[in-house]
Symmetry: C2
Subunit: 226 residues, 2 copies
């Protein structure tokens, strides 16, 4: 089983067809996190689970969620788990899903975005990292734990970045536009704007220690007129 979660980030950064994407996955677990639960209702989608402290919602907005969503998991603003952590826990541990696709996690307040990005690789959730994807209008982020991989070319995106999230040992990138051999660092680093070789179905990634995110991305026109 798969889970799709919608967090409360800016809706103008959603992929254009988010409603269609979620509609196609009606049989999977749909989770609304905080304001994301309300956004789902506004899209005409009733989430299976709503998670959050809902403190940014007006009383009638929360009432709407309480009327329609069967499984609501209230969290406390002063708490052990953040809303995103509760969502990861629910999907990855309680439901043991094979894949968790998260929308609405980017843009807006950057402490929130980084919270989601880093939570995926923190010790409690690290072993599930390869199941998680963060997706917005022009980026898709996936995660790898140490090992050797063929990272698939996703034709929708022109670029990929290799993001070192912590102390890394023997990082190799092969069969890409910019290769890298046995790279070590104790600092996070983002190798941006790499590309797949023409007609290549994958590039080779390997490393011995640390956490890596691959960010597929593309350029899009967004209000780029002054």
């Amino acid at each position: 089983m798969k889970a799709i979660a919608l967090i409360g980030g800016p809706i103008d950064l959603w992929p254009q067809k988010l409603k269609e994407i979620i509609d196609k996955n009606q049989n999977e677990i749909i989770i609304g996190v905080d304001r994301g639960a309300l956004y789902l209702l506004e899209l005409g989608i009733i989430p299976d689970i709503a998670i959050g402290d809902f403190d940014s919602l007006k009383p009638d907005e929360l009432l709407e969620i309480e009327k329609k969503v069967l499984d609501i998991r209230y969290s406390n603003p002063i708490k052990d788990y953040t809303d995103t952590e509760s969502m990861l826990k629910t999907a990855l541990i309680d439901y043991n899903v094979e894949k968790l696709q998260i929308y609405g996690a980017t843009g807006g307040r950057l402490d929130h975005f980084l919270s989601t990005l880093f939570t995926v690789i923190n010790p409690e959730f690290n072993k599930y990292a390869e199941k998680v994807e963060l997706i917005d209008q022009q980026n898709k982020i996936i995660f790898y734990n140490p090992g050797s991989y063929r990272v698939p070319n996703e034709l929708e995106y022109k670029y990929f970045g290799v993001i070192i999230l912590n102390k890394i040992r023997k990082l190799n990138i092969k069969n890409a536009r910019y290769d890298l051999k046995s790279y070590n660092t104790d600092f996070p680093y983002s190798f941006a704007s790499n590309e797949f070789l023409p007609e290549s179905k994958y590039f080779d990634l390997s490393f011995d220690k640390g956490n890596v995110a691959i960010i597929y991305s593309k350029d899009i026109k967004r209000f780029n007129n002054l």
Copy 2:
């Protein structure tokens, strides 16, 4: 002296009054990075320095920059320094500025944003980290190296996040809504949505090892109608 740099990120994430902000700083060093140089010209501002490979610009756009900007530093797409690294080097090392305010670094392609965020704390630039600010419409990011600080309350922003960027020792947050005592971790982590105490001018931050970013942030309405 101070430097203001504009990178080529989405312009809809700029602070609303970016032109006025830069106009007020005409006597400081104005740097345009890649498409950021073109954006400055379109705002009626001639940057002192333009840095980039400019490979995303059309020939007539590049010509416009070459006609108007006196100091152009071309970088090579296959290179030792990224455009952002070249900009940091120019401002922080060559010009030894007291402060470097970077706009246009957020949003859009997230490998680019993380590249800028992480470059600030990488060994070559780390000692200058406390001079750097990344600013967009709803966030301001500043950096701290190990030590004890009073982090000033900036009234424009409601929240602050404490972002651990790498292995940290004895992190203390005091006199804030959510305090933290002698926290250690080997993983990046974002403590989001903290707040200053009412009428407080600062909170106390200290740590022995590692790198911390403070992200001031606020909620804004952005196309939030479905």
